[in-house]
């Protein structure tokens, strides 16, 4: 399992002078310069009856669900857009879409 701390957004420090901006739209690979989840209104809560089947991990269109201890899933706040596809697909109804409290 990858270290979750590597998956955070490293905010882009915007220089005042546009000449100090990167010439091309590029950055060092491996991180996001801005959060990708700004438009999220719902947040998936994973309930205790989850049996770690991994279907949500497979179905998530943004790769925003990771496998934790014993493959128990957890959601990455910087990537989840709150679409609810995981909750729809979960055969155990073990994912509940709540009002987003992660911002």
């Amino acid at each position: 399992m990858a270290d979750q701390s590597d998956w955070k957004v490293r905010p882009f420090q915007r220089p005042k002078n546009p000449q100090d901006w990167p010439l091309t739209p590029q950055c060092e690979s491996g991180y996001l310069a801005t959060s990708n989840s700004g438009w999220r209104t719902l947040w998936p809560q994973i309930l205790d009856n989850c049996n770690s089947c991994g279907l949500c991990f497979v179905y998530c269109p943004d790769g925003a669900i990771a496998k934790g201890e014993n493959d128990f899933p957890y959601v990455l706040a910087d990537w989840c857009k709150g679409c609810g596809l995981c909750a729809k697909e979960c055969p155990k109804d073990a994912i509940r879409m709540n009002e987003d409290d992660q911002k």
Partner: protein, 405 residues
């Protein structure tokens, strides 16, 4: 240097060979095909050490050289007409990514009706794509422009792709004596075709990068502002390259425009491409009849040489006042005027505002979803009020970049 009897297309191929691109990908299309054929032969004969990639379309050709440029090497492609329009998506992509690609375009009419002959509608349709655009008058200038274009595009101050245009058939398929430089001369003129490590827009295994990233509203504007600013400023490096080329090779034109019998001309034709040669001949004839005719040739349309056009038509070196200006182009922007006419007349407005007409400011706002608020509109009106009172204002203003322009 050797003088060879070459067509415009062959001259381009020699210019490319001497510039030593590492990757060439092109899809043949009339009247550009000979460029691709000659380059394929040069690679086959070992005269050009490049990967020559056969692609299934023009879109793929430009996408392929874009990827090659991202790996840090010099590249070349060529197209024409429908092919250029098929590439359109990749033109904006390469310009936004600032990859220093050089492309030759054989200016040809657009369908329908189907037509394979020359006109300039193709490249003029893509004048806003972010590519530098030059127009050759002769096969010699076409060869020279290819070499110059690599020096311009790869300059870190410019880092913008260049489209070199040749009139279809009239220039691509006619033959003239062309000075073909020696390889050593061009090697001494151009930097290495392998870009230095860490060159912007490139990556490798030791230096992994996320290329062509997303930028939201606000950030997007900064990239576009820089793209515009660097394109405007590219006029400087273009002139430097021209002057260095003249010193190095002993021929050429310094500047983005060229005048012929211009300084005392009362009737001036502004034009571009190979038709300028025909205009020169008529100017000579009219001069013998006592008509003060002149020519102002646009070598570059992007960046648009506003200052040079105004200097040529109204500068202090003039010994007579221009009485009328004609703009000659192979294009029509349906419902208005030809694209070059619109460009030249926008430049002329800057001269006119020193007299009777009010200043006109271009507010560039809302790029990439940038929000335009009531306060912003109010600021635009404030800027207009200040301009009306005679304050000098930038004629193109980007919202959110006020501190930088």
């Amino acid at each position: 240097m050797s003088v060879q009897f070459l067509s415009g297309n062959e001259a381009v191929a020699h210019g490319v060979r001497l510039s030593r691109p590492r990757v060439v990908a092109a899809y043949p299309i009339t009247p550009q095909t000979v460029v691709v054929e000659r380059l394929a032969e040069m690679v086959e004969d070992g005269d050009l050490a490049a990967e020559f990639v056969h692609v299934e379309s023009e879109h793929s050709a430009l996408a392929l050289v874009m990827g090659s440029a991202a790996m840090g090497v010099r590249t070349f492609t060529a197209t024409s007409s429908q092919g250029l329009l098929y590439m359109a998506e990749c033109l904006y992509y390469t310009a936004g990514g600032r990859w220093p690609i050089v492309m030759m375009n054989a200016n040809r009419a657009l369908a329908l009706p189907w037509n394979i002959y020359g006109d300039q509608s193709d490249s003029l349709a893509l004048i806003s794509s972010g590519w530098i655009q030059s127009y050759a008058e002769t096969a010699q200038e076409a060869l020279d422009l290819v070499i110059q274009s690599y020096a311009i595009a790869e300059d870190l101050r410019v880092r913008t792709p260049v489209l070199v245009n040749l009139d279809g058939f009239v220039l691509t398929h006619t033959y003239e004596p062309v000075d073909v430089p020696e390889q050593e001369q061009v090697d001494a003129f151009l930097p290495s075709p392998d870009f230095p490590v860490g060159y912007p827009g490139t990556f490798n295994q030791e230096n992994p990068q996320s290329l062509a990233i997303t930028a939201g509203p606000g950030d997007y504007t900064v990239f576009k502002f820089k793209q515009h600013q660097d394109m405007v400023a590219a006029a400087g490096p273009i002139r430097e390259v021209d002057e260095r080329f003249i010193q190095h090779f002993g021929r050429g034109v310094a500047g983005l425009t060229e005048g012929y019998q211009l300084d005392d001309a009362e009737l001036v034709i502004v034009t571009l491409g190979s038709i300028a040669g025909t205009v020169r001949t008529v100017v000579d004839e009219l001069r013998t009849e006592g008509v003060k005719a002149g020519l102002l040739r646009l070598r570059y349309l992007r960046p648009f040489p506003t200052a040079e056009v105004l200097a040529g038509l109204f500068g202090p070196q003039r010994s007579a006042k221009v009485a009328a200006i004609g703009i000659l182009e192979k294009d029509i922007s349906f419902g208005h005027q030809g694209t070059v006419s619109l460009e030249v007349k926008a430049a002329l407005y800057e001269a006119a505002t020193q007299g009777a007409l009010p200043p006109a400011i271009n507010f560039v706002a809302g790029l990439g979803g940038q929000e335009i608020g009531l306060a912003d509109i109010r600021r635009f009106f404030t800027a207009l009020a200040e301009a009306a009172q005679g304050q000098q204002k930038p004629l193109v203003q980007f919202l959110g970049m006020e501190h930088a322009q």
